[in-house]
Amino acid sequence: MNKLRCVHPRHYVDKQEKLSRFVTDFEYIKNGNINQSVFKADKSNTLSVYRTTRCKPKYIWYLCETYFNAQAVGRVEILAADILEKGLDFNPDGKPHTRHANIIKWNTNKPDDLRIRQELARVSKIFRRPE
């Protein structure tokens, strides 16, 4: 996969970066709509994403298969600027891959958190995994 590799990401997430959240179920990206639950943080209040700016699709799906889950059905792409605009932040931990980051500082007020997820889903794009 060396030929597919894209440039090493910076140590911080720039607002122009594109981020990918892989999904394993069509229910979340049905009928062209992105369900807000795609952006629901896990029990540690973080959301795992991959920094996929300037990565070719083939490399993005290589990342998915190798470091996430071979069963993914698609990905949801969002701009880092949209994340930062909501008062969220990033922890570019680089694990399990240098292009991995966690979205942090999710709102602990549940209705507010839900609204933020609705707004993020609205500005995101769906990319179904190629057959």
Partner: protein
């Protein structure tokens, strides 16, 4: 209605959908969206294979992909009278995925054939369909990391709460989507071009948020489930999502 697939049995796609929308008092965009076909609480029943309405056949068949909603016109959109595939560009955009999906296409054909042979399976009304979905999710999302990340198994309390909420949804509102969430709960979304209502159920906690993107109107709420729908939520459902 003889159950065959000749073009004479269908007038055209739009007439078909309009007829159905009129008869069922549902939103035409909902019907044509491949989603579930019915508004909650309406009397129209789901069939796994097909249902005759106004001399036309609907096929609702659970195939290898998702529960989908199919009409004969879809097949006619896909094939010429000689049985050859039509030019891809002539297909409605929302149907193009079926063109190259052999499994889905076979499901549609099987559903229509089952209908013709009288093999139909009653799936209950839309509320029952949602409840079945919840049970299915609960059975299948019972392991850590079921979403490929760090999701926790769906909880019994969340399941019971969401089942109770489904039973309390007002009659005559539009269809919804329901999905499991990584925190062990469930999420509902009612989505339209200019507005969205989401409900998030986590154990006995019920959070909801409504946004009208055009008017910028926002409403939200949070409470522990106490045997009824949160009043603000019920008001929004009836005001914004009644059929």
């Amino acid at each position: 209605m003889n159950g065959t697939l000749d073009a004479n049995t269908i007038i055209n796609r739009n007439n078909f959908l309009s007829t159905l929308a009129t008869q069922q008092q549902t939103d035409i965009s909902q019907i044509s969206s491949y989603g579930r076909t019915n508004a909650i609480g309406n009397d129209y029943k789901f069939k796994s294979a097909a249902k005759l309405i106004g001399g036309m056949t609907l096929a609702f068949y659970i195939g290898s992909i998702q529960p989908q909603f199919f009409g004969k016109t879809m097949l006619q959109n896909l094939y010429t009278e000689n049985g050859e595939k039509k030019n891809f560009a002539h297909l409605p955009v929302r149907e193009q995925w079926l063109h190259n999906n052999k499994a889905a296409l076979e499901s549609v054909k099987k559903g229509l054939e089952d209908s013709y042979q009288g093999r139909v399976h009653y799936l209950g009304d839309f509320s029952q369909y949602l409840k079945n979905l919840v049970h299915d999710y609960f059975e299948s999302r019972n392991n850590e990391g079921w979403d490929g990340y760090d999701a926790v198994p769906l909880t019994e309390v969340s399941k019971n709460t969401v089942l109770a909420l489904i039973g309390l949804l007002p009659q005559g509102i539009k269809q919804t989507e329901i999905v499991p969430t990584p925190s062990g709960g469930f999420g509902f979304d009612w989505t339209e071009a200019d507005k969205i209502l989401s409900i998030d159920v986590e154990n006995a906690e019920v959070s909801w948020s409504f946004i009208n993107w055009e008017t910028k109107q926002k409403q939200s709420g949070y409470e522990l489930y106490k045997g009824n729908l949160p009043s603000g939520l019920k008001e929004v459902l009836i005001r914004e999502f009644a059929v």
